[in-house]
Subunit: 365 residues, 4 copies
Amino acid sequence: MPNSFGHVFRITTWGESHGPGIGVVIDGCPPLLPITVAEIQAELDRRRPGQSEITTPRKEADVVEVLSGLYEGKTTGTPIALLVRNTDQRSSAYAEMKQAFRPSHADFTYQSKFGVRDPNGGGRSSARETIGRVAAGAIARKILAHAGGVEVRAFVTRIHDIAAPAEALTAFPSLAEVEASPVRCPHPATAAAMVERIKAVRSDGDSVGGVIECRIRNVPVGLGEPVFDRLEADLAKAMLSLPATKGFELGSGFAGSLLKGSQHNDLFENRDGRVRTATNNSGGVQGGISNGEEIVFRVAFKPTATILQAQKTVDLEGNPTELMGKGRHDPCVVPRAVVIVEAMAALVLLDHWMRQSAQNRTFQF
Amino acid sequence: MPNSFGHVFRITTWGESHGPGIGVVIDGCPPLLPITVAEIQAELDRRRPGQSEITTPRKEADVVEVLSGLYEGKTTGTPIALLVRNTDQRSSAYAEMKQAFRPSHADFTYQSKFGVRDPNGGGRSSARETIGRVAAGAIARKILAHAGGVEVRAFVTRIHDIAAPAEALTAFPSLAEVEASPVRCPHPATAAAMVERIKAVRSDGDSVGGVIECRIRNVPVGLGEPVFDRLEADLAKAMLSLPATKGFELGSGFAGSLLKGSQHNDLFENRDGRVRTATNNSGGVQGGISNGEEIVFRVAFKPTATILQAQKTVDLEGNPTELMGKGRHDPCVVPRAVVIVEAMAALVLLDHWMRQSAQNRTFQF
Amino acid sequence: MPNSFGHVFRITTWGESHGPGIGVVIDGCPPLLPITVAEIQAELDRRRPGQSEITTPRKEADVVEVLSGLYEGKTTGTPIALLVRNTDQRSSAYAEMKQAFRPSHADFTYQSKFGVRDPNGGGRSSARETIGRVAAGAIARKILAHAGGVEVRAFVTRIHDIAAPAEALTAFPSLAEVEASPVRCPHPATAAAMVERIKAVRSDGDSVGGVIECRIRNVPVGLGEPVFDRLEADLAKAMLSLPATKGFELGSGFAGSLLKGSQHNDLFENRDGRVRTATNNSGGVQGGISNGEEIVFRVAFKPTATILQAQKTVDLEGNPTELMGKGRHDPCVVPRAVVIVEAMAALVLLDHWMRQSAQNRTFQF
Amino acid sequence: MPNSFGHVFRITTWGESHGPGIGVVIDGCPPLLPITVAEIQAELDRRRPGQSEITTPRKEADVVEVLSGLYEGKTTGTPIALLVRNTDQRSSAYAEMKQAFRPSHADFTYQSKFGVRDPNGGGRSSARETIGRVAAGAIARKILAHAGGVEVRAFVTRIHDIAAPAEALTAFPSLAEVEASPVRCPHPATAAAMVERIKAVRSDGDSVGGVIECRIRNVPVGLGEPVFDRLEADLAKAMLSLPATKGFELGSGFAGSLLKGSQHNDLFENRDGRVRTATNNSGGVQGGISNGEEIVFRVAFKPTATILQAQKTVDLEGNPTELMGKGRHDPCVVPRAVVIVEAMAALVLLDHWMRQSAQNRTFQF
């Protein structure tokens, strides 16, 4: 259950960073969807390590194998099992970490909760777990695209204190604009500065975080299930389930609480022949249900916990010690996290679409 | 399902703002807990309208009736059903609203999703729905208090642009400090200014939002289920499932992304005979699991959507019209929301405690 | 969770036999269904005690109140809460039973599991709990009837050793035929003998059980979710969740295991312009999925545990004692259980219909 | 969801008969359980085809690979992924079956539900799917054995019309007694006759079914969650989720409805220093909760649908045709199903044990 997500389009991920492999089972995928391994692989390639000069040098091809659920190039409605073998495992790098808890990592809490942990590369707490999410997200995105051209686009708006100017990000960025820079910020000048900052902190053995914005357009009105499974509630859960996230905000977000109601309210108008709002402080969701405007949310990521500096900590017995970060790590996870944010957003949206269909479209009275 | 929350300690709420009543069914409450109706009523009294000069004048005693699940003053392990009858229903105030969509309300999305809605007082989208959450939360909090003195304390840190100074909020506030002001900010000078601001916007027929911080102390290490049901993920979902919320952040939150890893990491140390962290940027959760430090999170609330000013909108046919807010509403929902935030936090924590117990303590090898 | 049933059309029941009341919350009901309180009450009247000379003399009008989820005579898609107050409570009849465990009742197991139980009338283990199921089933049946005329009909085929002749039950019985006798066997001669048998065992202070058959016609092809949520698996669970049930069989059932494959297989043929089977040993389900034939299953009920005879048992301390049945009980629960079997069958079918719709009809490729 | 089973100890199976492989993900396994691949393989060997002269000659070694969840020979509390590659795939045997629906198979219903199916060897509807259940069951059984010596033992009591005498099956059979014959009936004389019957029907190109009884001993009092998740309800669902099953009965079962209450009631007595029942018509469950007596249930299996005889059917367009069974099939699935029944029973029991622990043992008041 804790390793499953979604109600109708439901995924279950498994696998440790340095175990035999990582995978996902997708239950509830509609039948007859044409999908190729290459389409899934393409998203994994956007996520995989070693893709650019600002990511970890860990080499993993992350080649996906489809074990079930497809027949003659189409989904059959049965579970889709996907497997990615781990190949570049250097457990020796983690020998020291077996004996002490890395600061701001999951070592201490896993050890305390389970009484045991796989110390190699963080085991299950490694971001490699998100491989399964991205693979499943690739399928979800294809379905959404088919269903009226729903597009999910995430991009980096801030790295450390380098932020893209708000006015540069008003339009819905194209995929090409996002992918133009390894940092995945669609504003070229800002992107260049971000890359330099990441290189600089890496050379210091340090790390930085940042903020990702995600927008979804062509969303039908009516997705989201009040009262607990509001669309923004499930988006928030999805985002806070990602490693290194510290915050989520929808539409006007935290800044919206600085406005008065007369400023914040999104007035309805008749535009393009349908009910629209003049502004979008709501971020595309009202009363927990999509209103047809762009869904807009932002996610805050903390700086990578692993740094190549000596840090004070304690060992398994609680005695003071020092630990020097080793292994191959991203000095900033935010650019690669763009792909993961998109995948999770797609999973939330698709699942809600199918839920909405079940209750409100199965029978017409 | 959309009206249920929790896995082991599971609540299901029902009821519309101006229907016969509001209620909740609690499934999975441990047996033999001594609990009185008065203890539940006390939390409802903190939530109910008309409790102070800065809340809605709607008069609702919100008297709770226990319909099942108790025997001789103790829980029996069977479902606890709680009912609060609605009494102060003035549906006439909503006649005009049947014909047009209130801006930034759920009228349009409910109508679009379901093809129908109860227009009286917002029906199911009304914040009266949270009565059931608060009643269930009262029971959850009693269990948590019993279990090692876990305390959940929320309070207002900002209303509009009036914020309590950070240095005034370092200590865990007492309930008395929070309840000392109707605005529920434990810093008296700030609280007084907040009250004045709320009165001022109300006299303008306008509204304001703000930020609530919630802290939980004496939390055992080990609560939270990676990878999707991380403690912060479920807290985020719980908070974003509340009306009028726009954001959630844990520990260092959005500001944490401005730090470098070397500044942000919480170094482990041996303090008070156990493993502690020197700082708490993690907000009490690492790798999705509580680490025994205070859980600290903040929730952003938008300004109340209902304002007593004429606003442009459209009618059910999509034609432009104007709507003047009526009914009796809070110019700022944040002070009353403190109680609801506490209730939801308690529900998340208790449910995770019981889940942790099932997997990790049922059998010992 | 244990008090909830269904995934999309989901019910949660609550209430004790001699507590303030009994109720149900229905979550996921499609919007815009016209439904009246009278339609729900009609099914409750078929279930309620005191309806005929062969049932318990306990007088309960079982009047249902709708607390939420309806607006102007139609469902709104929000939770429907239904309440039935208990009125005829004679707890004094149960004083003795607080001190000893009634044989083959739930007294001992509830006490052992929870450490406490409401001893009045069996508390939560009473068949009064099924009031909520029947009320919810009334709504489910109306939806099914609307959707292509699906009909659910249960009836008694055996009481003690008095069985209706198989050849008398080949046609789908009408509701009038079933309701013609208080014992709800559509074969008049058998029904008369059954009534006499029940009267006879009652005069002896004894009890009997029997078998109910349920058939569902006009079922669409495709309901049921392999592999764990097969249609027959969920029907089996639904039936075995009813008090006093000891067995379930589908189609050919236990007797089917006496046939060879060449005798048992249902050959496909083209009949009425669609694919049909020549026989129906499958009972309308193949591979866990409805095949469009009549769904046919049978449920075995044990004799009522409460008998008006002295029986050996033990008290709360485990000491031997005797207990004489008191209270007002059915000498045979089977006739009233017909209504409950129909309700549960309708709930299973409707929930699967909505699930099927979500996965297989939301998107067309 | 439809491919998942259990709430706390939750399994998800995937894979088609002639696809790349079959597998299972186990979520919620307690940490620190010592378990070897050999222990899992041993149960798979009991299930695999080709193990004796009366099973299918299909050769599958069914070698299991552990992909995650173990560290240094112990479980870690993270998901355990198990993979069995398919090796002996002769899809050519199924060419004809692509064009017509095999009688009493899932071909027609899968095609109708999903609009597509993998016709090779039945795809997902093949009994090969149960490999995942048996592998997970092996782990569940080890946990149960550790926890107070709970033993699950299934065995064949009837094949076609050859039944073991009731008096020969009163004692709890040992594993050796069950495994002494390939037909897994612990009564040697009956077993020999069963083997002959199976050989005889196979030589006729026909098939037979039968009945399996399952007993579980050393069960703690208190497992089972009223009202919908009664222990017998979940056992019934588990058994009816197996291919070819047509019925389930607990304790006295269908025959119990022929007794009077005075004969059927299980009188309580103080035996061995604890509360016991003099008889066990209840089959170890009362009010949905285990009472500490042996859990006893029986499952009916229909004759194998695939027979090596020409049978009338229709093709994909609904036109009449004939189909001659091909492929390599068991003339009787019942002996191999013994292992699967045990696995499912263990999964139900373990999941309920963990659920019981969560609600009733996490907190003590």
